[in-house]
């Protein structure tokens, strides 16, 4: 009798008796997704790995010739490609630092007794939900030197933003900061609200200064979540394409994704672009790896 009850309670044998076994269900639920991702993400990458060793041009009927590592060698020795990477790095630094300062700053302000906090927070989060390409386009009007509201509001006269080679990258980064500071703010708010109140109370009893409280209590406890925000934004800024492509066509804003796009779909250097795609891919996977490690770390807390 006792064994009979146990078998009834054991979900595996029970469902095995009637209907599909758990093993079948597990496979049925998981395998299609894995197969879908392999077919539409991994297989194309293998396909392009093959092309990266050729001089294939998708615009010409000529067959691809195997050229070995020539594409990679040439790309890694090409000073123009390195300057694209340097532009990308500059963009990543400016935009992520800006987002962290603005996002974390606003989160600190919001982490007080603010009336209508929920509504204000949602309104502040709106920019990051919108299409970068479509809203980014409209920033062209905002940045317009003669009738843009930015120059008018700041009293900058007819200051050139997007058509100025020295300024264009910063202009794109400012738009990116506008769009994505809310993301850093959102995550920072979660981190701030998780700081136990008794720590602040203890600090107040000890007459700790606000400076001390911030650097010894707030920052260390928010750091892991802030780190997630920073890594994620770094990854996204590294991949950036939409904003810079739509807002300007300056050589000084040609980030690596734009170079890759032009190489593949305007110059039709398909084989070479596949090789460049692989170089970018390896960098992205390295950052993703760090990101996931942090995600799991925060999850375990």
């Amino acid at each position: 009798m006792a064994t009979a009850v146990l078998t009834t309670l054991d979900p595996n044998s029970r469902s095995a008796a009637r209907g599909m076994s758990d093993l079948t269900i597990r496979n049925l639920f998981i395998i299609p997704t894995i197969v879908f991702l392999i077919v539409f993400n991994i297989f194309p990458l293998i396909y392009s790995l093959g092309y990266s060793f050729t001089d294939f041009r998708a615009s010409s009927p000529a067959a691809a010739n195997f050229v070995g590592l020539q594409n990679y060698r040439e790309l890694l020795n090409d000073p123009f490609i390195w300057s694209n990477f340097a532009i990308t790095a500059k963009y990543v630094i400016v935009s992520v630092v800006g987002q962290v300062i603005v996002g974390f700053g606003v989160a600190l302000l919001l982490n007080r007794d603010i009336p209508l906090k929920g509504l204000l927070t949602t309104l502040l989060l709106l920019p990051m939900m919108l299409s970068m390409a479509v809203v980014g386009l409209f920033w062209k009007l905002l940045y317009d030197p003669s009738f843009g509201i930015i120059n008018y509001t700041l009293g900058l006269g007819s200051f050139e933003w997007l058509s100025n080679p020295d300024m264009a990258l910063y202009a794109v980064a400012i738009t990116d900061i506008w769009m994505w500071s809310p993301f850093v703010m959102l995550l920072s708010l979660a981190g701030l609200s998780a700081v136990p109140k008794h720590l602040y109370e203890a600090a107040a009893i000890d007459r700790a200064g606000s400076f001390y409280t911030f650097f010894r209590i707030t920052l260390p406890l928010v750091a892991p979540i802030l780190m997630i925000a920073i890594i994620f934004r770094t990854m996204e800024a590294f991949k950036t394409f939409d904003l810079a492509y739509i807002l300007t066509s300056q050589p000084t804003t040609e980030v690596i994704s734009i170079r890759l796009y032009k190489m593949a779909f305007q110059e039709w250097q398909t084989g070479r672009s596949c090789a460049l795609a692989y170089i970018v891919l390896i960098m992205i996977l390295a950052i993703t790896n760090i990101y996931v490690k942090y995600l799991n770390k925060v999850k375990e807390r």
Binding site: L9, P11, S15, M20, D22, R26, P32, T33, L37, F40, N41, I42, L45, Y51, A58, L109, R112, D113, L120, L123, L124, L125, L126, M128, M129, L130, S131, A133, V134, L137, F138, K140, L141, L142, F147, Y152, L186, L187, A190, I225, F241, D242, I246, S257, L260, Y261, A264, T270, S273, A277, V280, L281, I284, L285, I287, T288, N289, Y291, L295, V298
Partner: protein, 319 residues
């Protein structure tokens, strides 16, 4: 935070309120400017100083939906009187609505792009959330060898830069004839959202107590019945939130759409910028197109407000 006690704290708090209000105004200014430009007559869109107070007009939306051409000569009073109210708005702007030989109004490219966006975003959302829900349940409830590695693999597909994936996909689509088709984009967006949907749904599934299904299994349900009758209803909120996130991602996507479509299946994000050609663009029409395009996302953001944190952190942070 801690209750406001001292007067210093209280004035600091007042300062924070003022700060938050200023920041909110700055952050919403571009969105406000889009919305207000969408209702301006063309000559007020690019004035110095910027026009803030004006009589709102619907003409940008009429122009957004119709094909127009410059008026060479002003319409005769009879023509003007015979025209419907919306056509007069176009006349007032110095343009005329293009009509076919039989007098039918010619549509602009916008409505079909908007429809394409809807078709692609909705279909890919259904596929990604459908598959993602099953897979998330599998990961949540069953032992899987190398689970962490598989989950990393799934997430990493999401992190690939669109242009990197687009190059081989473009070549493959060319072979099978999927370039510039709805299905071509739907497949790409499904793949892109699938990983997100698995990660997010796994978080929601993990929160549903296992005991619910186990009780059902004891009552004689099969695992499948328990999944459909017990787990899915419990996961409804999570499924809805995931679906909205997937929809927004697909709706907003630009790079794939730019590369994979050019006319028939083109969605709104690559279409709207293509209207800013050479010469002076009509910003009121662009604003109207942008406004309509952003509206669903703005509404969804409010509906999603309690799930934003979770969604944006791939389910890692749940509050």
């Amino acid at each position: 935070m801690a209750a406001v006690t001292t007067s210093a704290e209280r004035s600091l708090n007042k300062l924070a309120i003022v700060g938050v209000l200023i920041v909110t105004m700055i952050f919403l200014a571009p969105i406000y400017w889009i919305a207000s430009t969408a209702f301006k007559p063309r000559n007020l869109a690019t004035t110095i100083p910027p026009t803030v107070v004006f009589q709102p007009e619907i003409s940008p939306f009429v122009k957004l939906f119709t094909k127009r051409s410059q008026l060479r000569t002003a319409p005769t009073p009879e023509q003007y009187a015979a025209a419907p109210w919306w056509e007069r708005l176009v006349f007032d702007g110095g343009e005329k609505v293009v009509r076919s030989g039989r007098g039918e109004v010619q549509w602009s490219g916008y409505p079909s792009r908007f429809m394409n966006s809807l078709i692609v975003a909705i279909t890919s959302t259904i596929l990604a959330v459908g598959m993602g829900t099953f897979t998330a349940y599998g990961f949540s409830r069953f032992k899987i060898k190398g689970e962490q590695d598989l989950l990393f693999f799934i997430l990493s597909t999401r992190m690939l830069p669109p242009v990197v994936v687009a190059i081989p996909m473009f070549l493959m689509y060319r072979v099978v004839g999927l370039n510039d088709t709805h299905w071509g984009l739907i497949i790409l967006y499904t793949a892109f959202n699938l990983s997100f949907s698995v990660w997010l749904m796994k978080g929601f599934m993990d929160e549903i107590p296992k005991e619910y299904e186990e009780a059902a299994l004891v009552d004689g349900y099969t695992r499948m019945e328990a999944f459909f009758k017990i787990v899915l209803p419990e996961a409804a909120t999570g499924i809805a939130a995931t679906a909205v996130f997937c929809f927004i991602t697909a709706w907003n996507e630009y790079a794939f759409a730019l590369i994979m479509t050019n006319r028939r299946a083109q969605t709104a994000p690559p279409f709207i910028p293509s209207q800013v050609g050479s010469g002076l663009p009509d910003w009121t029409v662009i604003a109207a197109g942008t406004f309509l395009f952003l509206l669903p996302v703005a509404i969804f953001t409010f509906l999603l407000r309690n799930h934003l944190l979770r969604g944006m952190s791939f389910g890692a942070i749940r509050k």
